[in-house]
Amino acid sequence: MELPKMKGLFGRSRALEVEIDHFHDKLSQSAVIFKTALAAYLKAGATDSFIERQEHLNALETEGDKLRRSIETKLYAETLIPESRGDVLGLLEASDEVHGALQGALWGFAIELPDIPEEFREEFMELGDMAVMTVESLVLASRAFFRNIEAVLDHNHKVEFYETEADKISSKLKISIFRSDLDLARKLHLRTFVERIDEIADKAEDVADHLNIYAIKRSI
C-alpha cells in the first residue's frame, strides 16, 4: 500500500509534534522571563536589563503566534486529528491569550513606569511568582493533553491551586494599597498593575478549565 504516503503521514505528524512542543517551550520560557523582568523592575525600575527582557518576551510571543498559525493551518489542510482539532485549536488560542497577558503586563510597566513603594514590592513579587507558577503548571497540563491524557487532571489541579493563591495575594495587596497614605491616583495606578499580573493567573485557569473538558472528551 502507498508506502511513501504513509511515510509522509508519519513525517508530517512528527514535524507537527515538534512545532507543538516548540509552542509550549515559548510559553514556558516567557513565564520565566516575565519573572526575571518583574524582579528587575522592582529592584531598579525600567533599566536596560528590564527592557532587554521585555523585548525578549515580545519576540517569544511573536514566535509563538507564528507557530500557532502554522500548526492550525497544517491541522486543517492535512485533515489531521479530525476529532480533536477543534479542541487543539481552542487550546492553542487560549494559551496564546496567556502569552498575551504576560506580554501586556510587561508593556504596562515599560510604558506607564509605575512607582511602586518599597513596602509593596515583596508582595508584588510574590504575586508575580504565583502567576508564573500557574502558567508553568498550565504548560505541563497542556503538554500532557498531547502525550499523557491522564496526567492532565493532576497538572490542572495545580493550576487551580496557584490561581487561588494568586487571588488571595492580589486581594491582600489591594487592601494594603487602599489602606495606605498614598494619594488616590497612585492607589488606582498600582491597582491596575496588581490586576494585570493577577490576570495572567486568571487566563491560565480559563485554559485549564477548557483542558479539563477536552481531556474528558478524549478519554471517552
Binding site: I20, L80, P82, E83
Partner: protein, 492 residues
C-alpha cells in the same frame, strides 16, 4: 454463454451491489465518517480486498448455504437473489442496517416452500444459531480488545498526533482485513444460490491462474460488490459513523478489527484445518452478517463503559429489522417465483422425486434407521420431499438428523459414469487412485447418488470416509465435496 443466463445472473449482481453499498459501510463507515480515511481510499481498498477474499477463500461458507436448499434452476436462483436484494435495498432505504445473510436465508426458505422442498433443519439451526453467536462473540471481542487497547495506549503514552497517524494506518489495515473477510464470508450470500446452476466452465490463463467455475462466479459477484461500494456506499458510510453510539477513532478501529475477526472465523477454511488437525472443535463455516458483527462490537464497548452512550431505541429498531428481513425476503421470493413460473413461463425449480425402494430401505438399515419404520412405504415414489416427509410422518417420528438421511438416500439422482466426462474432470482436484476407481466404473449407471459413492468406496480406499472424529472431519469433508462434484458432472 446465453443472454438468458446473463439476465438471470443480473439479480445476483443486484444483490452484490446492495451488499457493497450496505456492508462496505460496516467496514469503513466509522473511518470515513470520522474523516480519518478519505472515501476514495476506502472504496479502493475495500473493492480490491473484497474481490481477493471472495475469489480466494469464498468457498467455505458457500457450502453451508448450499446445504440449506440447493436452488437447482437458474430461474429459482434469480428470484432468490432478487428477493434478497429487494429486501436489503428496501431496509437500507428505511435506514436499518440489515443483513444480506438473513435476507438470502429467508429467500432460500421461500424457494423451498414454493418448490415443496424440505428445508434442512440442521443447516437452518446452524445458521440461525450463528446469528445469535456472531453479535455476542463480536461484543466480547470488542470489549476485550477495547480494554486491551486502552491499557496498551496508557503505557505507550503516544503523542496525540502520533496516535492519530497510527490509528489511520490501523484503520486502513483493519479495513483491508475486514473487506477480505467480508468478501470471503458474504460472497456466499450473493452468489451461493447460483453455485448448483453455475453457467461457467473452468478458466485457465497461461497456466498461471486457474479459476474454477465457482471462483469465476464469485469474481463476478465481487466486482458487483465493488461497484456497490463506489456508487452508493458513501452516504451510508457517513451516516453509520455515529448512529448507534458516538465512538472515538480508536474505538472505531476496535470495532472494525472485532468485526473482521468474527467474519474471518466463520469463513476461514485454513483455521478450520488447524483446529481440526489439533483435535479441537471447529467453527461452522457459515455466512454471518457483517452488520450484526459491527453492532455487536459497538454494544460490547458500550456495555464496558456502563451502557450509558448506547441509544437503545436505535438498537431496538435494528433488532426488529433483523427479525423482519428474512420474513419479507421469503415472502417476496415465494410470490415472485409464482409470477416467474406462471406469467413468464420460466423454470424455477427442477422437480426431484424420492423413492423408498427395497435397496433404499436396506441402505437406511445400515445407517441404523430400521426399515420397520417404513413398511407401508416400500416401493412408493414421491413427487417431492415434502410428500415423502408427510408419508413418513404418518408412520413414525424421526429426529431431524434421521429425516435428512431419509431424504438423502431416497432422493432419485440418475447418474451415468462415462469415460468422456471423466476426462473433463479437474485432474488436479482428484488423486490418482480416485480417478482410477472412477475409470473402472465407466459405463455404469446409478439410480441414487449414494450408490455411486458406495461403488467408489468399494473400488478404492481413496473414496472411503474415515471414522467420524474431529481429526478426520476435514478429510471426510474433502471426499464429500469431490463426490458432490461427481454427482453434478455425471447427472443424466
Amino acid at each position: 454463454m446465453e443472454i438468458a443466463v446473463l439476465f438471470f445472473l443480473s439479480s445476483g449482481l443486484f444483490l452484490g451491489w446492495a451488499l457493497g453499498a450496505n456492508d462496505a459501510a460496516n467496514v469503513f463507515g466509522t473511518a470515513v465518517g470520522t474523516r480519518m480515511v478519505k472515501f476514495g481510499t476506502a472504496a479502493l481498498i475495500c473493492s480490491i480486498f473484497v474481490i481477493l477474499g471472495a475469489t480466494i477463500s469464498g468457498a467455505g461458507a458457500a457450502h453451508t448455504l448450499g446445504k440449506l436448499g440447493a436452488v437447482n434452476a437458474l430461474g429459482g436462483s434469480f428470484m432468490a437473489a432478487f428477493s434478497a436484494a429487494a429486501a436489503v435495498y428496501a431496509m437500507t432505504k428505511v435506514g436499518i442496517p440489515v443483513s444480506t445473510s438473513q435476507a438470502i436465508v429467508g429467500s432460500i426458505i421461500g424457494w423451498n416452500l414454493y418448490s415443496e422442498n424440505v428445508t434442512d433443519t440442521n443447516a437452518l439451526i446452524k445458521i440461525v444459531t450463528t446469528w445469535f453467536v456472531c453479535p455476542v462473540l463480536a461484543a466480547v471481542l470488542g470489549a476485550s480488545l477495547y480494554k486491551l487497547t486502552h491499557v496498551v495506549l496508557g503505557f505507550a503514552k503516544l503523542h496525540l498526533l502520533r496516535l492519530d497517524a497510527y490509528t489511520r494506518v490501523g484503520l486502513v489495515l483493519a479495513g483491508a482485513f475486514g473487506s477480505y473477510s467480508l468478501g470471503a464470508n458474504n460472497i456466499a450470500n450473493v452468489m451461493g444460490v447460483f453455485v448448483p446452476s453455475s453457467p461457467f466452465t473452468e478458466f485457465r490463463f497461461m497456466d498461471l491462474v486457474t479459476l474454477s467455475s465457482v471462483q469465476q462466479l464469485f469474481l463476478l459477484g465481487a466486482i458487483a460488490i465493488a461497484v456497490g461500494v463506489f456508487t452508493y456506499s458513501k452516504r451510508v458510510m457517513l451516516t453509520v459513523g455515529g448512529g448507534l453510539m458516538p465512538l472515538s477513532a480508536v474505538g472505531a478501529w476496535v470495532v472494525v478489527v472485532s468485526h473482521s475477526i468474527v467474519l474471518f472465523l466463520f469463513a476461514s477454511v485454513g483455521l478450520e484445518s488447524i483446529l481440526a488437525s489439533n483435535g479441537l472443535p471447529t467453527i461452522p463455516l457459515v455466512p454471518v452478517s457483517s452488520s450484526q458483527a459491527v453492532i455487536g462490537a459497538v454494544i460490547g464497548i458500550g456495555l464496558l463503559k456502563g451502557g450509558r452512550g448506547i441509544r437503545w431505541k436505535v438498537l431496538g429498531g435494528i433488532f426488529t429489522g433483523w427479525m423482519i428481513t428474512p420474513v419479507i425476503s421469503a415472502l417476496i421470493c415465494f410470490v415472485g417465483l409464482y409470477f416467474l413460473q406462471n406469467v413468464f413461463d420460466q423454470k424455477v425449480y427442477q422437480s426431484v422425486s424420492f423413492e423408498m425402494s427395497e435397496r433404499v430401505l436396506e441402505r437406511l438399515g445400515q445407517e441404523k434407521i430400521p426399515r420397520t419404520h417404513f413398511v407401508d412405504l416400500t416401493g412408493q415414489r414421491y413427487e417431492n420431499g415434502r410428500a415423502l416427509m408427510q408419508a413418513v410422518g404418518k408412520q413414525t417420528s424421526l429426529s431431524s438428523k434421521e429425516e435428512s438421511k431419509v431424504l438423502d438416500f431416497a432422493k432419485v439422482v440418475p447418474l451415468t459414469v462415462s469415460i468422456d466426462k471423466i476426462e473433463h474432470l479437474d485432474m488436479e482436484w482428484f488423486s490418482g487412485p480416485q480417478i482410477q476407481a472412477l475409470k473402472e466404473l465407466s459405463g455404469r449407471s446409478y439410480h441414487h447418488s449414494w450408490m455411486l459413492a458406495d461403488a467408489l468406496a468399494k473400488q478404492s480406499e481413496a473414496w472411503k470416509l474415515k471414522p467420524k472424529t474431529t481429526a478426520n472431519k476435514l478429510y471426510n469433508k474433502g471426499v464429500r465435496q469431490r463426490l458432490e462434484g461427481l454427482y453434478r458432472k455425471f447427472k443424466d
